[in-house]
Amino acid sequence: MLEGEIHSHLLPDFIIERREDRCIRCRVCERQCGFNVHWYDEETDSMKEDEMKCVGCQRCVVMCPTKALIVKPYPGDYRANANWTKERILDLKKQAETGGVLLTGTGNDKPFRIYWDHIVLNASQVTNPSIDPLREPMELRTFLGRKPDKLEIEFNGDLDDVEIKTELSPNVMIETPIVFSAMSYGAISYQAFKALAMAANEYGTLFNTGEGGLPRELRKYGKNAIVQCASGRFGVDPEYLNCAAVIEIKIGQGAKPGIGGHLPGEKVTEPISITRMIPEGTDALSPAPQHDIYSIEDLSMLIYALKEATDYEKPVCVKIAAVHNAAAIASGMVRAGADIIALDGLRGGTGAAPKIIRDNVGIPIEMALASVDQRLREEGIRNKASILVAGGFRCSADIVKAIALGADAVYIGTAALVAMGCTLCQKCHTGICNWGICTQDPNLAKRLNPEIAKKRLVNLLRAWSLEIKEMLGGMGINAIESLRGNREHLRGVGLEDWELEVLGIKGAGE
C-alpha cells in the first residue's frame, strides 16, 4: 500500500467474457481500450483483462474482428436491500475512499417518470383524412425568434405590391424542428464538434457551440451556429458573436441546475486554448452564475448588451434549467427581451456534473414545457419568444409530443452523441472516451471521423424528420405550425389528475 492510498472495496461494474475459440490475439481490444482493460500476456499467448477498469462502453466488442468479446454487467451483488442498493453502497464506498464530490457524465439515469411514455398521439379516422406524407407536401420549416402581435401593412393599391411597415425582430429559419444542443469544444472533441456543425449545415438546422467558443476555421458554419455566451465567457469576442445565427445566454443546464463547470486544465490543450482564448493547461472555470447577472433585470441588461454588440441582427436565446418556477422565470426572460427561451429538463445531458446534483435537481422537461407555454399564453406573450426544449429526447415521437405541448423546436444532445457513437457509459468526466467524442486525447479523438459522424447525424435528422411527417400526416396536419401547442392531439395514459393538469392534456378516452 502506497502512503495515503486506501485499499479499494469497490466491485467491478462489468464482466468480460472472451470466447477463446474466436480470439485471434490481434490485440485490437487492447489498442482500442482507453481504460487499459485488455492486455496481451506473451507467456501464455492469450489476452487478459482487468475488469475493475471496464466501463462497459462496448468499443472493444464492436471493434473485435471476430466478435469474440461479450461485456456485460457484473452479476455479483450485495444482499438485496431496497434501501441500500448496490449503487448507493458503491457510491458511498467510493467517497469513503476518496473524500470527493462524485462526478458523472451524461444525463440523469434515475427512474423518474418519463411523461412522453405516458402521452399518446392522435390520428385521423373518418371525420377528417390523414395525409400521405410520402407524396403530399409536408412542411417542417420553423422560424425561431420574436414575432410581432400584428403586422402593419401598406397597400399600394395593388395587392401584389404590399409593404410591411412593422419592424420585425430577427428570426432564424430551420428546416426541421430539431436543433443540436450545446456541446462545447472542450467538452467534446473537435471532431465531434465539427461533425455537428457540418451536419447542421447540411440539413439546414442549427448546432450550439456551448461555451467553449467557435474555432476560427469553423466560423464559416456560423450561419448554422447558436453561439453561447455563458458564465465563463470563453472565446467570446465581437467576431464570434457576429458570425452566429443566434446568441444564447446560458444560465443553466438541465443536468446541473445552479452549478458551474470546470474544464480541467489537462483538457485545455493548445487548440482548446486558442479557441477559448485562455492559456494552455489552465482550468477553464465556468462560474455558477454569470457574474453580471444576479437578477432578472441584469439578464435584460446582458440580452440587450448582446443585441447591441450585434446591431440587433440576431435573436438572443436564454437557456435555463427546468426548475420549480420555470414558468415564472420564463415569463421574466421573455419580458427581459429574450427572443428564444430554451428549457433544459431534468434528463438533460452533461459532460461532467456532480452526481448528487444531476440526480436530484430540476424538474422533467415535459412539466416545465407545459407550464411555461401555458403561462406565456396566459400572459399573452407566447409569440414574443420561441421555445426550445431540451433534456432527454430519445425519438421523433418525443419531439412531436413536445411540439404539441407547445415547443417550437427541440434540442437534441445525447441523441446526437449516440448517433455519433456514444454508448452512454457515463465516463465523459474522465476525459477518456473510447468513441472519440468526449475527450481531448488526440489519440482517442481521432476515432471519430467527422465525415462519418456527420453522415450519421444527417441520417438521424432525416429519419426523425420523416417520422415526424408520418405522424403529422396521420393527424391530418401538413405543416408543423399546426401541431405547435395543439394539445388536442395528446392524451395521457396512466397519469394522475395533477399531472394531466400541469401538462394541460386530457386523459385517454376523455
Binding site: 475459440d21 490481434c26 471493434m63 471532431q191 489519440n443 471521423n449
Partner: protein
C-alpha cells in the same frame, strides 16, 4: 488507371484492423478466424500501421508510376501489371531485399520468415479488404484517371 490505397492519418485509430484484414484477404479461407487460428502459413500483413501515439499512420504500397522497388529488383520478381498494380512474384523472389532498400515508403514488408510481401490491392477480391474494413474510413481507394507521368 492508377489505383492505390490512400491513408488519412488524422482519422486513423491505430486499431491495426487493416493489417488483420489484409491477412484475411490473402488467406485461403478468407475467414478471419480460420485465417489466424488454422491457416498460419507465414502470411503477413502487407500494410503497416506506424505508431507513435497519438499519431498512427497506415503505410501501404503506393503502386508508383515508376516503382523504385521494381527498378532495383534483381530477379524480376516485382513487376507492374496492365492495370498499374505493382506486384510481387514470390516464386521468383530470392529475398535479396533490394526492394526493401529502395522502397521510399518502407512499404515492402518482410515477414517473420524473411519472406517479402507487398500490397496487391487485393487483386483477387472485389475490393481491398483494408479499405473495406477500416472502421473509421481512414483508408481510401483512389483511382486516378490520369495515367503515369508518361501518359
Amino acid at each position: 488507371m492508377m489505383r492505390r490505397v490512400v491513408a488519412k492519418p488524422e482519422v486513423c485509430v491505430g486499431c491495426h484492423l487493416c493489417e488483420i484484414w489484409c491477412v484475411v484477404a490473402h488467406s485461403t479461407s478468407k475467414d478471419v478466424i480460420k485465417a489466424f487460428l488454422y491457416e498460419r502459413d507465414g502470411n503477413h500483413p502487407r500494410i503497416t500501421v506506424e505508431e507513435n501515439l497519438p499519431e498512427t499512420l497506415a503505410i501501404n504500397c503506393r503502386h508508383c508510376d515508376e516503382p523504385e522497388c521494381m527498378a532495383s529488383c534483381i530477379s524480376g520478381a516485382i513487376y507492374k501489371d496492365e492495370e498499374g498494380r505493382v506486384l510481387h512474384n514470390p516464386e521468383k523472389c530470392v529475398k535479396c531485399y533490394s526492394c526493401v532498400m529502395s522502397c521510399p515508403y518502407g512499404a515492402i514488408v518482410i515477414s517473420e520468415n524473411g519472406d517479402i510481401f507487398k500490397c496487391d490491392l487485393c487483386k483477387d477480391l472485389e475490393y481491398p479488404y483494408c479499405v473495406r474494413f477500416c472502421p473509421n474510413d481512414a483508408l481510401e481507394l483512389v483511382e486516378d484517371s490520369e495515367k503515369g507521368v508518361l501518359g
